[in-house]
Amino acid sequence: MTRYFSSVATPRARFGVLLSFVLLLCAVPSVAWAGDDSLVRVRKAGVLTWGGDIQGGEPYVYDDPAAPGRLIGFEVDLAEAIAKRLGVRQEFKQSDWSQLVPALARGSFDMIMNGLEVTVARQGVLRFSRPYYVFAERLMVRTDETRITSFATLGDRRVGTLSNSLAAEILRGKNVALYEGVEEPYADLVFHRTDAVLLDDIIAARYGAPKKELKVVADVAEGFYAAGLRKDDAALADAVDNALGNIASSGELDQILSKARLMSPRESRLVAWSESDQRAMLGSAPTSPEPPAATQLSTGHVILFLKGAGMTLLVSILAISLAIPLGMALALARAYLPRKYAALASLYVEVYRGTPVLLQLYLLYYGLAAVVRLDALVAAVIGLGMNYAAYEAETFRAGIQAVPEGQMEAALSLGMTRSLAIRRVLLPQALRHAIPNITNDFIALLKDSSLVSVLTVVELTKRMSITAVEVRSYAIPGALCALMYFVMSYPLSLLARRLEKRLGGAGR
């Protein structure tokens, strides 16, 4: 899935990085004495860029419903206040939430400010400012739930949360469903696909609490939102800390949070936030149990990768097993059924080919959930299978057209019925013509199967992005992931070529 690789530099961007590196070298003599040039750089540019994901929605950073295209939210107000104190303007940069940390590292913006929770794992890759919000991790269940009465009674029941969140760290080792958006975890909880959701109280209040089927069990931990900066940008980090301190003590933070209806008694601690408070926050970042600070890719990771690859294979094989017969039926309907049914089959093919498979998966899993509650794996197989059936229908159509008309006539002239002639003479030959293309389609399906991670299925690509966050690097997990896809698809590719050669002469 391409969006996981959004941080891979394009040639042009790479040139830009090279250019700025050269410029940086020129600038070094004049600022070398200042330790680092991060603050100078921001002041010179006249802009403080900060990253976030507007998909996170209200109240963080989101599109103003009254003026589409304009961003609002308490973090926008906060960025405005910080920038003002630095004597620059602020500029928001959109990034996938799960990609914020790598995007910061590669210099896409100066700072992350988007409900970024202070965690031990993140301290390895970035520098946290002083906090601007204190929140609670809130556990919610369905109103009829009686077994789950606290965090301790979760057992191995399935709990939904956002991937790469503090809650995900707290839940490490439990039966977790990881999501990319804030609405989906609560929707799946209502639909009995999970048994609980653990997320920040801000999110719970806005997306969980309004659902009358859900109730709060407890707040299980306290956490902090803070801005994240690059470790090397000490000067900028100090300036941001000073600005945040001033914002808190001047009462502006109170105003900003009140405006967003986020004020709680907890927030009063932020006004007199001391060095020792900061040390305590960083030292005892509320992560129970303490997450292993895994920085090395281990055999454990490789085993998880193999499991992910197994899931990728399972989903792909089941989906193609659905796509082939369905595609064959569609192709036959188009070729041999009365116009009315043939048109329906054509409509199916055009609709499924003409809309994104990601959208189809969303509609099937979340859109239809009120009617049929499909298990994630079942939805993944049906979604991909029905999509690929449209492509297989075209492959079979080409296969049918490749069989000379005389073959059908010869069969009919021997007294065969139409259906018998199709079964005994047409299909076996059409299948031979189609097999090399079906094999190629299967290779494509193998890679498209990474899309099902949006349905909480942890397959190879999802496993890669989870591991990449844990080991704080995309390079090795990415290469390992690519290698595994290659190992699965290359033999198929060879097979397709051999089949093409062998069957090339058949049917003439």
Partner: protein, 234 residues
Amino acid sequence: MIGIKGLEKKMDGRLILSQVTVTFEPGRICAICGPSGSGKTTLLRCINGLTTFDSGSVVVGSVAYRGTTSGTDVAAVQQIRKSVGFVFQAYHLFAHQTVMENIVEAPIYVAQMKDSEAKSRASALLERLGLAQRAGAYPRELSGGEQQRVAIARALAMNPEALLFDEPTSALDPSRRVEIARILSDLRKEGRTIVVVSHDMDFVGEIADDIVLLTHGRVMSQGKAQDVLALVRS
């Protein structure tokens, strides 16, 4: 016996066959002759329902086909095809099957014959047509003449009372022509009705008992071969 009565066929508003009335007798070889585009092959295809027609009828034994795709006509065509074999100009052997599989296909799946019986009858047919060594070959491995004999064996495997041949000599060298002539006269001896579409007048002169001469979709002449040939020459 095959009887055609008042058959008319239009294609894109153009009359292809007009008021064709002919009878094909058992134990005789009848050739349908005429220049290219005279409707010879279309007439042959009308007999076993590969082509529909607009009016008139085809009667094979007690089964009548009125040229449409209605339910009764579909059933009639099904009946007719079981008793009328068709040997195509390009043979159209099933490309995915061996010679043996081609021949036993219809007996097993249409006539519901037992595999073993179908196979032993197919072996006998192959022996008779000089193809005993080729039972395991695929069509693409055969010469044109061999393919034609397999096509004949495939049609004969259903033990049809009539056999229709479309241009049987078009792709054959002279020695093969002698062979197909011998096969046709053997089939005649067995009392089958043989209809051959051909523009090869030498071949027709050699084998035909009767001739139907078509021009622009109309029967110009029909009768004993020597009479029609005499008419043509004069």
